[in-house]
């Protein structure tokens, strides 16, 4: 006999990415993802990943225009230096530190 718990675990998906705050426009890969993989956050498939992403790295949750800020933990962490499309890798190659963050 299948208990309700085990039936639940059969249908639930393993999250492979995490959003640290509802205000964030990026998610964090919890494991290495391949181009074309579905990003799964809070047990929901949200979109296809556009390129290979290493564990711990950021993926755009929505399109981010050049000059717009990237939010993680609900706070601006860097700003985009070019348009970053949903599903793309977000890192030092397409962002820069927010100039006013280091004040000294």
């Amino acid at each position: 006999m299948v208990s309700p718990e085990s039936r639940k675990s059969e249908v639930s998906m393993t999250n492979n990415a995490l959003r640290t705050n509802l205000a964030d426009n990026v998610i964090i890969a919890l494991q290495a993802l391949k181009k074309g993989d579905m990003a799964i956050v809070e047990n929901q498939k949200i979109f296809e990943v556009m390129e290979d992403i290493q564990a711990g790295h950021k993926i755009a949750l929505e399109s981010i225009a050049a000059g717009e800020k990237v939010y993680r933990y609900g706070e601006p962490i860097v700003e985009a230096t070019r348009t970053i499309n949903r599903g793309e890798w977000v890192h030092v190659h397409n962002t820069r530190p927010v100039p006013s963050d280091m004040t000294v």
Binding site: G56, Y73, P76, I77, V78, T95, P97
Partner: protein, 383 residues
């Protein structure tokens, strides 16, 4: 919510009833260690300095050593001095209040052998007194918990630090005090911490504190200042110092910052407090212990066995690989957030519940391993 602790004379409560043997100068450490060999239950605090330091460093040294001896987890203290050192043993002993204190001085009391013999008698008596004391119910509002991270990895800011932050929020909600430390690891977030302060004045102080630390790092490291965000951090996915530091300050949770205290100083306020400590784990934990922390919640990614004298340290690991690679060193595996779909809140609850059990007497991994490295902040040269 309550825990069972040991009542102290001045209204504080300890979660342990330790007898400390503390040397005022490193020259006296042989005697402290000999007493510890004879009485393994005592907690030795081996001071690496105690002489030849600047006035400023001596002030910090006295505040730190006295603060640790005054920590509520300590029932009684035996101070061992040499006699001619800069930081006098009697002076240290006089700074310890509200508990049994004795002081022996090797040059005065007949050399190492005689001082060790007398020390074993005294510490033995302290231990029997401590064993006889019973725990009493204590409201959780009396609990002070330090927050620390060391050997961080790319997952620290994803699993372990947010989970400790969730536990810190539960503590503050219950009326306890949490101390977020490591000013170096706040660089790049001064503007964010400023917003989180309980008052605008406090916000300005926080901003100044973090910016001064940034200045210090730039002055000390020059062109290497960028090392506060290392190539390894970038490889791990962190794009800026702000992102790295945000991951560190996640440990503090989401409640307002109610106070800033100097290194090894005691907070007066409840709720979330910031202490100005360096990023080096052992020096930072010394500040927290001297500030009266009963417990330290310590997150790690790479794994570290470090505990601290008299203060139970709970290790929370960011990933299951390290948890499995270092069995017996880590108390909580927050890697379950990554591999088992556990929520940050769930693991935060686990940490909170374990913390209450530890307050009631359950031993942490570092306590079982007797892992009690000791060191503290020293800024100037030795003369």
């Amino acid at each position: 919510m309550e825990f069972n602790g040991y009542a102290r004379e001045h209204g504080g409560y300890g979660i342990r009833n330790h007898v400390l043997v503390i040397c005022s100068v490193n020259c006296a450490s042989g005697v402290a260690q000999a007493i510890n060999r004879a009485l393994p239950e005592v907690v030795p605090v081996i001071n690496g300095y105690g002489c030849g330091s600047s006035g400023h460093d001596t002030v910090v040294m006295l505040r730190t050593l006295a603060g640790i001896a005054n920590n509520p987890n300590v029932a009684a203290v035996l101070v061992i001095g040499l006699g001619c050192e800069g930081l006098g043993a009697e002076h240290l002993a006089n700074s310890i209040k509200g508990k049994t204190v004795e002081c022996l001085v090797i040059q005065r009391d007949g050399g190492s052998a005689a001082t060790t013999k007398r020390g074993i008698e005294l510490a033995g008596r302290f231990l029997s007194l401590a064993r006889g004391q019973k725990r009493v119910p204590v409201p959780i509002t009396k609990l002070v918990v330090g927050l620390e991270c060391g050997g961080s990895d790319a997952f620290s800011g994803i699993s372990a630090n947010p989970a400790v932050g969730a536990a810190a929020d539960l503590l503050v909600e219950a009326g306890a005090t949490t101390i977020l430390a490591e000013t170096t690891e706040m660089i790049g977030t001064a503007h964010i911490l400023r917003r989180r302060a309980a008052t605008p004045e406090l916000g300005e102080q926080i901003e100044k504190l973090v910016n001064n630390q940034e200045k210090k790092v730039r002055h000390a490291l020059g062109e290497w200042a960028g090392m506060v965000i290392t190539p390894g951090n970038i490889e791990g996915g962190l794009s800026s110092i702000t992102e790295k530091s945000l991951g560190c300050i996640e440990k503090g949770g989401t409640t307002p910052i109610n106070e800033i205290v100097g290194y090894a100083c005691r907070p007066v306020q409840h709720g979330l407090v910031i202490m100005d400590t360096p990023g080096y784990d052992i020096d930072s934990m010394a500040g927290l212990a001297a500030g009266g922390a009963h417990i330290i919640l310590f997150t790690t990614g790479r794994g570290t066995p470090a505990g601290f004298p008299a203060v139970p340290v709970i290790k929370v690991c960011s990933n299951s690989t390290t948890f499995k690679n270092m069995p017996g060193d880590i108390d909580v595996n927050a890697g379950t957030i990554i591999e088992e779909n556990k929520s940050i809140e769930q693991v935060g609850q686990e940490i909170y519940k374990l913390m209450i059990r530890v307050a009631n007497g359950e031993l942490t991994c570092a306590e079982k391993n007797l892992s009690i490295p000791f060191n503290y902040l020293k800024e100037g040269p030795t003369f």
